[in-house]
């Protein structure tokens, strides 16, 4: 079974558009069918890249994919909500619209806005963007069906599945240390997983 894999390239692991293009080429050469590229810097005092700089990086990413002949799905993430941009909700929404439209024009297939799950805001944003909007489900927040009905075209789970899987392993490890046994009724069979990573079809 072959499934398309999208790669979260975060900020592209590079400072320049050329560097981002190199990262994109590397990911697509390894078989990635889609890419995330975000405008977060990781620096608390200046959390977002300038919008025009990010536009240049997205253009370089799209050009790199085109040059390889790969119709890569380019999911352009903006961290306006995660970073708490602006002084008011309106500022934040306006900046998200501004960035999102620019990113779509630069070749993004969707604008990803993690940290936004409020359905009315989502609906407004979707209408003002004029293009596909991706959001991240938050455990305890509105469910995926609600997010889709509010206008999201893509709902992802962020780190939730990974954190749940790690938590499960941690719980089992603690039990193993105490009891000397592992109770793993939901474990996947070894052969199934080995098959995923074998060269020949399993």
């Amino acid at each position: 079974m072959t499934v398309p894999v999208t790669a979260d390239l975060e900020g592209g692991y590079a400072d320049t558009p050329q560097g981002v293009a190199d990262t994109v080429r590397a990911a697509l050469s390894l078989g990635a069918a889609g890419l995330n590229l975000e405008d977060a810097t990781g620096q608390p005092d200046r959390p977002l890249l300038p919008a025009d700089g990010q536009v240049d990086r997205l253009r370089a990413a799209r050009a790199a994919a085109d040059a390889l002949g790969v119709p890569a799905y380019l999911n352009a993430r903006t961290d306006t909500y995660l970073s708490g941009y602006g002084d008011t909700d309106a500022d934040r929404l306006d900046e998200t619209v501004r960035r999102g439209r620019a990113y779509l024009q630069a070749g993004a297939d969707s604008v990803f806005v993690p940290g936004l799950t409020d359905p009315p805001t989502l609906r407004t944003l979707r209408d003002r963007l004029g293009g596909p909007l991706a959001v991240m489900y938050a455990p305890g927040g509105p469910d995926a069906h609600i997010l889709l009905r509010a206008g999201a075209s893509r709902v992802s789970t962020g780190p939730s599945l990974f954190l749940a899987a790690l938590g499960h392993a941690a719980t089992l490890s603690a039990q193993f240390r105490e009891r000397g046994t592992l109770d793993t009724p939901g474990a996947l069979p070894f052969g199934t997983v080995q098959g995923w990573f074998s060269r020949s079809p399993a």
Copy 2:
């Protein structure tokens, strides 16, 4: 928090002792505190490397660690049990003893015999080896306390935790597709996990 990590280098990802030494150097340079090296070939018609060839590879691994000044824990795995070596139980045990003693003499810190969890056989093997014996817990088999009392000095869980974690993620994914929600009460906090992989102490 710093925890020692041992690397499962399988067959050393190389055909020659020099190649195995290169792999060992790479793993230790990345910070591994211990290593697994196994005598399995992955070829069904000839599942085990010749014992003397594996001895050369273990010697090369130990020498590589010594040259780096790293007191690496070298866990020498033999797949006599996993591969179903020999025509009788006695053949299998004899070959395990022969290989295990040679591996210890080549510089191994323990002999790892996955596929063996029968306490009486374990006790006999431990006595005949004259050195530390590592075993793999099998879900549903004798518990770790029994294995330790029977003479094992190390009990690992093989792929069980990983397969359980993957199974948990698969179950949650299916629920998410159906219900649109993720129920992850045992998930680890994002900050905890992010801290593990950050350069500065979290």
